[in-house]
């Protein structure tokens, strides 16, 4: 197998795996930049995956090929609504952010499985017929070398995730809104003095993280698993959390980290057919992504500085 063949497999599958992680990690960034820890990303993905699949199954006959895209919207809405619980608990009622996040994770799995049972009377849903499927991007896929590598046999969702990451970077670092959001996470009292409504900014941050987490779950469910069961989202939310930290709470950094994770995973699958890796036992290749992640977290990136006031409650008037 030549280098070209290997890249032809690795790149699309890296992007496919990375896109849900990118979206969810961006969600984490919005929440944590505003000063609220969001360990509930996994739960938000579950809600997103569930609502996308249910919506897709029940409206595919009406909406046709647009179903998965509309389902993304629905999932983002559901995720935002669900993260409202986290916002109310951790901002208005000053609950511990981590505890509330864990509750979100447990609640999400419980509620969705219960609803699946209620709606379909079984433990998992049917397979959706109108998911995201493989495409060749028109025109761009005809470019020699780059076309086949980056624009063939891939999914629209990969580009969608990258585009959202760039938009998120612009919003967080180049707009007044982003500056306010970051300031409430770094020094809420200073922000308050300057007339920024800290509670409002934090609510927006958490709700955005819910919407993006929901999108991440929906992308995963509609482009990979094609159904919803208890195993659909199993750890991807935590991978996204790691990608966020690895990317130092920076949207483009998180995107890079998510792509790196995806690359490590694809490499473990294709490793057997690489000439220099073919004699390595399979199990080492399978654990490689996790080892690489630990190495990367400890060695390459240096200190990861979280927003200064993350995890604290802002109480007006107290010093």
């Amino acid at each position: 197998m030549g280098l070209m063949d290997i890249l032809l497999i690795i790149i699309p599958s890296t992007l496919l795996w990375a896109s849900p992680l990118i979206l969810t990690a961006l969600g984490g960034i919005f929440s944590e930049r505003s000063g609220v820890i969001n360990i509930g990303l996994e739960g938000l993905m579950v809600i997103g995956a569930f609502s996308a699949i249910v919506f897709n199954l029940s409206t595919a006959s009406v909406l046709g090929n647009w179903t998965p895209w509309v389902a993304l919207l629905v999932a983002a809405l559901a995720g935002a609504l669900f993260s409202g619980i986290h916002a109310v608990a951790s901002i208005t009622f000053r609950a511990d952010h981590t505890v509330s996040g864990v509750a979100i994770n447990l609640l999400a799995v419980g509620v969705t499985l219960f609803l699946v049972k209620l709606i379909y009377d079984k433990g998992q849903t049917d397979i959706i017929q109108k998911g995201f499927s493989k495409i060749d991007v028109p025109i761009l896929s005809d470019i020699p070398f780059i076309g086949p590598l980056f624009f063939s046999n891939t999914y629209w969702t990969s580009y969608f995730a990258i585009a959202v990451a760039i938009i998120a970077w612009f919003v967080v670092f180049k707009t007044p809104f982003g500056l306010r959001l970051r300031s409430t996470g770094e020094h809420p009292m200073a922000a308050d003095t300057m007339g920024i409504n800290v509670t409002k900014m934090r609510y927006i941050g958490v709700l955005l993280s819910g919407a993006l987490g929901g999108l991440g779950g929906a992308v995963y469910a509609q482009s990979i698993s094609s159904d919803f069961s208890h195993a659909t989202i199993s750890g991807q939310g935590f991978m996204a959390l790691a990608a966020m930290i690895f990317g130092k709470w920076h949207p483009l950094g998180a995107m890079g980290a998510a792509i790196f994770f995806g690359f490590a995973q694809s490499l473990s699958i294709i490793g057997n057919s690489l000439p220099f890796l073919e004699n390595v036992p399979n199990v080492y290749l399978l654990i490689a992504p996790y080892i690489l992640t630990i190495l990367a977290l400890t060695g390459f990136i240096g200190r990861a500085d979280a927003p200064k006031s993350i995890g604290t409650h802002y109480i007006k008037g107290s010093r």
Binding site: L16, G123, I224, S226, S229, S234, I269
Partner: protein
């Protein structure tokens, strides 16, 4: 103060929701209360139940097939689903096996099935504690007086799948995706390889294990690698990981309907997973499925136990001759369907009569010859 009270209510709400979810598996917590005092009445009815592994009773595979067997047995004997007839408990994680087995034993079920070799340890433990109850262990052996073990000759079904694959392939490249390395999956692999070699010695077989039964994305990546390296038929013995294989094959077929991307299902007939609609016409990427008739075995063992012939401490092996394994219908779109059917018939006769012994391990495979 008010806020604190609200916070308390909130946390109760969250806790309640979590517990609610846990009830999802055994949906009749409330009914149980009402039926406990009818215990004497149930003395004469024979009650049977099963514990699923993490797949659930509609995994379109193993558990579903077992549940079908129990339902058939229940209906044939006039039982009702629930506490006093036939029932199941779903496991959400490996940690649930012991709890589920135990709670079914306490509900006085006469025969309790544990589905899947992952439950071997748990059955062993609970069977030791609940010596009155009878257990059926599917896919593994537990040597206890009150446990009847059921094994299958998976290699015979996958041998036939291999015959179908070997005759269908045009590129002479065939793929096999395994779930986790274990005796059961090795039987699938050995039988499949033997089947391919028997009809198409030139074909090469690309084998890869996902090391997971519930990771569709790994299945999808492996399938993507295999199909793009020219493989045109892939067989999976990997549970829900195989969903990724079907997704990949459906996507590739939708993109280029003129090419062949076949997938072979496992355990039950997975033909419904392969439907792909292209410009209004329906295609199907499922070539066939290697059937493991867990339903036949479960039904058979339940009947034996009901008649008082519970084979405790013994291991029953179900093969092609006992109708315990088989091959599903071949896809109509295959050009060589008639040839495949003839060959499959020929080989199944040989296997049934004992003229052909299909290798069950990779070691036996090395010395195997179809002649």
């Amino acid at each position: 103060m008010k806020k604190r009270k609200f916070g308390l209510t909130m946390s109760f709400l969250l806790a309640a929701g979590t517990i609610l979810g846990a009830c999802g598996g055994g949906d009749n917590e409330a009914e149980k209360e009402g039926t406990t005092d009818t215990g004497e009445q149930t003395e004469e009815t024979f009650k049977v139940a099963m514990v699923t592994d993490v797949g659930g009773i509609d995994d379109k595979s193993f558990n579903q097939s077992a549940w079908k067997g129990i339902q058939e047995f229940g209906e044939a004997n006039g039982l009702e689903k629930g506490q006093d007839g036939y029932n199941y408990l779903q496991s959400q994680s490996d940690a649930d096996y012991t709890t589920n087995l135990n709670s079914l034993a306490r509900q006085d079920f006469d025969l309790i099935f544990g589905i899947g070799f992952m439950m071997q340890e748990s059955i062993n433990e609970i069977a030791g504690q609940q010596t009155e109850a009878h257990f059926g262990m599917v896919d593994a052996v537990v040597e206890k007086e009150n446990v009847a073990s059921i094994l299958f000759k998976e290699q015979e079904a996958s041998f036939l799948a291999g015959v179908a694959a070997g005759l269908t392939t045009e590129s002479n490249k065939i793929g096999f995706i395994g779930g986790m390395q274990s005796d059961v999956i090795e039987r699938f692999e050995a039988g499949f390889q033997a089947g391919v070699k028997a009809v198409n010695p030139d074909a090469t077989i690309d084998v890869q294990y996902a090391e997971a039964f519930d990771k569709a994305e790994i299945g999808q990546s492996i399938a993507s690698r295999m199909y793009s390296s020219g493989v045109d038929v892939v067989f999976h013995a990997a549970g829900a990981t195989g969903n990724g294989l079907f997704k990949e094959a459906r996507d590739l077929k939708a993109k280029d309907p003129s090419k062949n991307y076949w997938a072979i299902g496992v355990d039950s007939d997975q033909v419904a997973e392969g439907v792909v609609e292209i410009d209004g016409t329906e295609h199907n990427i499922i070539l066939t499925s290697a059937l493991k008739r867990v339903d036949v075995a479960v039904n058979d063992l339940s009947t034996k136990a009901k008649e008082g012939n519970f084979p405790g401490g013994e291991t029953t092996v179900y093969g092609l001759a006992e109708d315990g394994v088989g091959l599903a219908e071949i896809n109509d779109a295959v050009t060589v369907k008639a040839d495949i059917e003839t060959k499959v018939q020929e080989y199944s006769d040989k296997i049934k009569s004992g003229d052909l012994v299909v290798p069950g391990t990779l070691e036996e495979l090395e010395t195997f010859s179809a002649e």
